[in-house]
């Protein structure tokens, strides 16, 4: 179920954890002595990092997930790909593009 969650779920969960952690730390830090503020802030930072990591995981689960209906470039998989039937020319081309996009060099898509 976790692996099938859409990326928006990861984004929302990650954002909620990050914002919630930051807000809670902020509110708590104002109410404690100065000496105890650092642990509160650090805890808040940990929540922000966890939230950001969950936002990032939205990508990873799409890459690794086998139940997603879109490929890495955002194209929906063909019926043949989803059902494992004989490949078509289009599915071959899409598989080739997916391989190109995940070449192991860690390159990211430039928005320019």
């Amino acid at each position: 179920m976790f692996r099938r969650a859409p990326r928006y779920a990861f984004w929302l969960a990650g954002a909620a954890i990050a914002f919630g952690g930051a807000l809670a730390a902020r509110l708590l830090a104002d109410g404690v002595l100065a000496a105890y503020r650092v642990p509160v802030w650090i805890t808040g930072c940990v929540f922000i990092f966890i939230g950001l990591a969950i936002v990032s995981l939205g990508n990873r689960q799409r890459r690794e997930g086998d139940g997603d209906d879109k490929d890495d470039l955002g194209h929906a998989k063909t019926d043949a790909e989803q059902t494992g039937r004989r490949s078509t020319l289009i599915s071959e081309l899409r598989a080739y593009r997916r391989r190109r996009s995940g070449d192991g060099m860690g390159g990211t898509e430039d928005s320019r």
Partner: protein, 404 residues
């Protein structure tokens, strides 16, 4: 002709002669130091974009001292010590760099503009592909900041000055400037100058530190090929928005820095081509030029010759060295966790200043094993380092201001 007083005619020399011996020697040394910075900038040892304007500004301001009314000595560059509104209005009309200092420097705007430009150059996709490892290394690479703060207090600095100096361990020039302006406004000039000088020098020294701490056999480890996919601009945008708002929520004192950094990222990922071109070229280079020039001009002997400068020199190098060691320790931890598949040299890239330390890591590894490509991993740690050092600076500023 016989009545001409040559010392009145050449007031730069006259003020030199009339200065106390300490200031006289200081001015001459700073003029020579300015020449040295220009030379090292031209040779590529230090960052030329910053050091050449800084070096010339430093030499010129120490040469161009003249007499004002009542025998008072000063320059026509800027006066950082003026704070009274009427006096500020007065000097704004006289000193040519005073508008830049008063309206852009003393309020941290110039640091934010540099951050805006840096943000527009950052590709957060490298962090998003490997978030845990990148952030872990970046946190380890803040060791210098954590070590320098108590050492600074132990060496006799007030906690606000020690905290401002400790931010040098974050290895981020604009961050040092921003923190020093808030925490230690009286000595922000020497702190920032020391920070920028060391940032240039230590990157030259980091390869030696890596060689000393990582054996050649481990340095040459080739990272196994990763199955990573391209991350879309929308995903990077979501990441930047969440990070920016959450960090501003937690640390409002550093919100201008967070906003500037992530605004640059968001402009890049939104495809706002005109803004992207503006921020990554004119804004970044314009702000860097005025930052270097103003810092140089602030290095007038009376301002820079502060009794704490020696302590700052020691603390600065200590902070940067420990940050590098912390990053390498983080790299070693991942090396052992991964069963020897992670190259610990990547840890040095956790010390921010994009992309210099990432390049240092790749160059050091390539010297041993040209087949080993660690740059994508190093850039992830590097970009995380920028975010982490902003967080550490924010914690210090909030904490120390709270104590004060």
């Amino acid at each position: 002709m016989a009545d001409v007083d040559f010392l009145s005619l050449f007031q730069g020399i006259a003020t030199l002669v009339a200065s106390p011996p300490k200031i006289l020697i200081g001015r001459i040394c700073l003029i020579l130091f300015g020449f040295l910075l220009i030379y090292l900038g031209k040779k590529g040892v230090l960052e030329a974009l910053l050091m050449i304007p800084m070096g010339l500004g430093m030499a010129a301001v120490n040469a161009g001292v003249l007499f004002f009314e009542h025998g008072r000595m000063g320059t026509l560059f800027l006066d950082p010590l003026v704070s009274e509104p009427a006096a500020v209005i007065n000097v704004l009309q006289i000193n040519w760099l005073q508008p830049v200092y008063t309206l852009m420097f003393s309020n941290g705007l110039i640091a934010c503009l540099v951050f805006l430009g840096i943000g527009s150059l950052l590709d957060v996709g490298f962090v998003m592909q490997r978030p845990f490892r990148s952030m872990f290394i970046a946190i380890c690479a803040e060791l210098g900041t954590l070590v320098a703060l108590p050492v600074g207090v132990w060496m006799g600095l007030p906690i606000n000055e020690a905290a401002a100096t400790a931010t040098i361990g974050g290895a981020d020039g604009p961050m040092v400037l921003f923190s020093a302006l808030i925490l230690a406004p009286k000595i922000f000039v020497p702190i920032t100058v020391v920070g920028y000088l060391y940032l240039g020098l230590t990157y030259g020294g980091y390869p030696y530190l890596i060689k000393a701490l990582v054996p050649a056999k481990i340095r040459g480890i080739a990272m196994p090929p990763e199955k990573v996919r391209a991350i879309s601009a929308t995903e990077k945008l979501v990441f930047a928005v969440v990070a920016c708002v959450a960090l501003c929520l937690l640390f409002p004192v550093a919100a201008p820095l967070f906003l500037s950094l992530f605004l640059g990222v968001i402009v890049r990922e939104s495809g706002l081509t005109y803004f992207y071109e503006l921020f990554s070229n004119q804004v970044l280079y314009g702000a860097t030029f005025f930052l270097g020039l103003t810092l140089g001009v602030l290095c007038e002997a009376n301002t820079i010759l502060h009794p704490t400068v020696l302590i700052l020199l020691v603390l600065g190098i200590l902070a940067l060295t420990f940050s590098a060691i912390g990053g390498l320790i983080g790299g070693y931890v991942l090396y052992f966790i991964s069963g020897g598949k992670y190259n610990p040299v990547i840890g040095i890239a956790g010390v921010s200043c994009v992309p210099t330390t990432a390049k240092v890591a790749q160059k050091t590894v390539s010297a041993v094993n040209p087949e080993s490509i660690i740059l994508p991993h190093a850039l992830g740690a590097n970009i995380s380092g920028v975010i982490t050092s902003a967080i550490f600076a924010a914690v210090l500023v909030t904490l120390v201001r709270g104590i004060g």
